[in-house]
């Protein structure tokens, strides 16, 4: 289990010639990632997903808070880091490697590296072992790194936008391989992506970060159920936002056309419909939201929608 507790991270210009103004990348983040799940990191651009992933893998030093892997602090702790593998969004760092060299490289560092697994995965993927990775396509590079990562035998694998830029067939193939391997070992996969549908499809749990703050962290089904779109029709007059809020509901988005009102409100389905009975409406309908819609409405509520950005 990975426990992230009260993590705050400021980037302060420590180098010569850098601005000394601190930029807060993460603000008091606390989440728990249980074993054996596929966990999705969602967030706007610059929300702090990659920073949190780097902190989890011991790439950045913690400023405040703690991140533990199975009870062990991760920073500067080889035992904890031997259980986690970080795949970042780049592949250029491996350009000079052949696959054989890549396997040797990781075998030097990870005691549980399995040459057998590596060979099996490489065969499955049909990758050449004697060519330098600089000659590979982007998809082949990704496949190679994933094969190496899976062969390291770590309990946790962290993938930062690892599927971005791949074609749909390649994405599916790579995801299938990863999920199969991870399920076989009861390992935990942590992925970040801007493709919300992908997270929706792949993950059991997810969290949303915005401007360094945690918006939500829950199981995917609960997240989808936590926000609903309601359509209300009332002949006696349009339902106002104040009226809805007076019923104890949090309105994230509101619009009205004629006598029909549309609102995105927080809460579970039945709880919302029960409360809306107080409006004496002629018609109330609850429309289920996709994860992508929840993502968009949550961020819009925090000023990250098209309208807010256009105003700025």
């Amino acid at each position: 289990m990975i426990e992230i507790t009260n993590v705050t991270m400021d980037f302060v210009g420590t180098a010569v010639g850098e601005s000394k103004r601190a930029v807060r990348a993460l603000d008091d983040i606390s989440i728990t990632i249980p074993d054996g799940c596929v966990y999705g990191f969602l967030g706007s651009n610059g929300a702090g997903k990659s920073t949190l992933m780097r902190l989890m893998c011991g790439v950045y030093r913690m400023q405040s808070g703690s991140i533990t892997i199975d009870g062990r602090e991760v920073w500067d702790n080889p035992e904890a880091k031997a259980d986690i593998f970080f795949v970042n969004d780049e592949t250029v760092q491996y350009a000079d490697f052949t696959l054989a060299a890549l396997a040797k490289y990781f075998a030097s560092y990870y005691d549980r590296f399995s040459q057998e697994t590596f060979v099996r995965l490489i065969k499955t993927l049909g990758l050449p072992t004697d060519r330098k990775m600089v000659t590979f396509s982007k998809g082949m590079k990704r496949q190679s790194i994933v094969a190496a990562a899976l062969s390291c035998g770590t309990k946790y694998m962290v993938m930062d936008e690892a599927f971005d830029g791949l074609d749909p067939a390649m994405r599916k193939m790579l995801k299938d391989i990863i999920v199969d391997e991870m399920i076989d070992r009861n390992a935990t996969l942590i992925v970040s992506s801007h493709n919300v549908a992908e997270i929706n499809e792949l993950c059991d749990r997810a969290m949303l970060l915005h401007q360094g703050k945690l918006v939500f962290d829950d199981e995917i089904d609960n997240i989808r159920g936590s926000v609903s779109k309601v359509q209300i029709a009332r002949r006696s007059g349009v339902v106002t936002q104040d009226e809805i809020e007076a019923l104890g509901l949090e309105v994230m988005k509101y619009s009205a056309t004629g006598s029909v009102t549309q609102a995105v409100v927080k809460g579970v389905g039945e709880e919302i419909t029960d409360k809306l009975e107080g409006l004496s409406a002629d018609f109330v309908e609850l429309v289920p939201l996709t994860l992508e819609e929840v993502f968009i409405y949550e961020l819009e509520a925090r000023g990250y929608g098209y309208e807010s950005l256009a105003e700025n």
Partner: protein, 496 residues
């Protein structure tokens, strides 16, 4: 436990070294070619052949100087963001990571340099012993040759260690590849030149300290053998080279304390350590200035140093550049220049920080001492010579040097005479015009009623040309007379 940790570090180092195969191959080809050329040099060119292949040595030197490239490649997590993600996430503690990096440098650079240069030394020695006609005729030449080869080898290795350690300092303190490279070259040159220049300019030329032409150069430098001024003390030189190597290793290990403060967030950023930046730039500027003051015609080039100083600041601070900052750096440049002139003035006023009263501390029994003063007087040269003790005193009015035989003296007598001379060395009139003349080259200036006389003290063993200590001061005519009077007062000194 310690053994398993060591094995882990070694495994990590080998893992790292394997990722730089191309660099390793290029290095070994360079060193191997250098070794081969040095070994076969002259085999086919007759009796009077040289022991040195300049191309061979050049290639061996190039292999040594490739150190910064190796260091930059190995410490790639410090300047490359993508690499830092990989390297920092690997299951290593910070000490393990740092030591494995140093070990990788040993595998990739130090060991090949050591092995190939050793092969070159052994092969050259065997070749000279068996094939050189002049070596076969004169056995002593073998020793002289091997002596020279050993010294060059020791100096070469000390230089390689020095250069690598400077590269490690820069790699750990800088965040960009280009910065690591140019600071390595600037600092290596500055650290090598600064001790020699500071001594020769501030303490000897301006301060009037006694020089010791036969002494070894006690400094951490690249490269030791370039500054070697001895011909006989081979083993002392080798010990000094080993000490230099140990200092370099010590410096590399000490840099861990800066390395451990870094994480991936500083990769690719400008110079990470502000203290390093300020010290490095000041050291380079001061060294450059010290180099220029040795010759008056070079002084205008101080402007070039100033421009480079500002350019380095502008490049480093390009992210937050402003007119106010450029003004501030110009003021800092002026302050640094003023501090340098002040340092020179202090050296002048304090007679080389008191060094003018210092005589090399070694046994001077059976040495000879000669003090002679000469000054221009209407084109002629008046020389006042004191040779003591049990020797003679001479005043003359013609320009030729006097040949003489002197009796050998005890250490105590030499020091007694030297003390009198050095008392006058520290009693020079301190005037700005005199100070300034060090940089304008017009030392033959009038000084009141008398002209400046140059007095030289030589202490040596055996022949005149083996001078061990030489000290030179400028005195007025009256001071010269007083010096002679004081010398005459010394008991046991016979004056002819």
């Amino acid at each position: 436990m310690a053994m398993s940790r060591w094995r882990r570090i070694n495994r990590f180092a080998l893992g790292e070294a394997r990722t730089h195969k191309r660099l390793f191959t290029v290095l070994n080809i360079t060193l191997g070619a250098g070794c081969l050329l040095q070994t076969v040099q002259g085999l086919a060119s007759g009796i009077y052949r040289s022991n040195i292949s300049f191309i061979g040595l050049g290639l061996l030197l190039a292999g040594g100087l490739i150190g910064p490239t190796v260091v930059i490649s190995v410490f790639r997590e410090l300047h490359n963001r993508q690499q830092s993600d990989v390297v920092y996430s690997l299951p290593m503690s910070t000490p393990e990571r740092y030591l494995s990096r140093l070990m990788a440098i040993v595998y990739l650079h130090i060991l090949p340099v050591l092995v190939w240069s050793a092969v070159a030394v052994i092969a050259t020695s065997i070749r000279t012993a068996f094939f050189d006609e002049n070596v076969r005729r004169y056995v002593l030449v073998t020793w002289a040759n091997n002596n020279m080869i050993l010294r060059m080898w020791a100096g070469y290795l000390a230089g390689v260690f020095f250069f690598d350690s400077i590269a490690v300092i820069c790699a750990v303190c800088c965040g960009r590849r280009a910065e690591i490279r140019y600071f390595t070259y600037l600092l290596a040159a500055s650290f090598s030149l600064a001790p020699l220049l500071l001594r020769m300019e501030l303490m000897v030329r301006i301060g009037g300290q006694a020089t010791e032409p036969s002494s070894l150069f006690y400094a951490w430098t690249f490269s030791l053998f370039i500054w070697d001024r001895t011909e006989t003390m081979t083993w002392l030189f080798i010990i000094l080279a080993v000490v230099n190597c140990l200092i370099s290793v010590g410096v590399m290990l000490l840099m861990y304390f800066i390395y451990r403060r870094r994480d991936a967030s500083s990769a690719g950023k400008p110079v990470v350590s502000r203290a390093f930046f300020e010290i490095a730039v000041a050291v380079c500027l001061m060294t450059y200035y010290t180099l220029l003051i040795s010759a008056p015609e070079l002084l205008p080039y101080m402007l070039v140093g100033g421009v480079v100083y500002l350019v380095i600041h502008i490049v480093t601070f390009r992210g937050t550049l402003s007119v106010a900052k450029v003004v501030l750096w110009t003021v800092k440049l002026g302050a640094t220049t003023a501090a340098f002139v002040l340092l020179l003035w202090i050296a002048y006023v304090t007679d080389g920080f008191g060094a003018a009263r210092y005589l090399p501390m070694r046994n001077l029994d059976n040495a000879n001492i000669l003090i002679d003063c000469s000054y221009n007087f209407y084109g002629g040269e008046n020389t006042v010579a004191f040779v003591g003790p049990d020797s003679f005193f001479w005043e003359r009015n013609y320009s030729n040097w006097i040949a003489f035989d002197s009796q050998e003296t005890t250490d105590a007598q030499i020091r007694q005479i030297a003390e009198v001379f050095q008392k006058y060395a520290s009693q020079r009139d301190k005037e700005f015009s005199d100070f300034w003349s060090f940089f304008t080259g017009s030392k033959e200036s009038y000084r009141g009623w008398d002209r400046v006389a140059t007095c030289t003290m030589n202490i040596w063993f055996g022949e005149r040309n083996n001078t061990m200590v030489e000290q030179q001061i400028n005195l007025t005519g009256q001071q010269v007379r007083n010096l002679i009077a004081d010398l005459k007062k010394l008991g046991g000194i016979q004056v002819r």
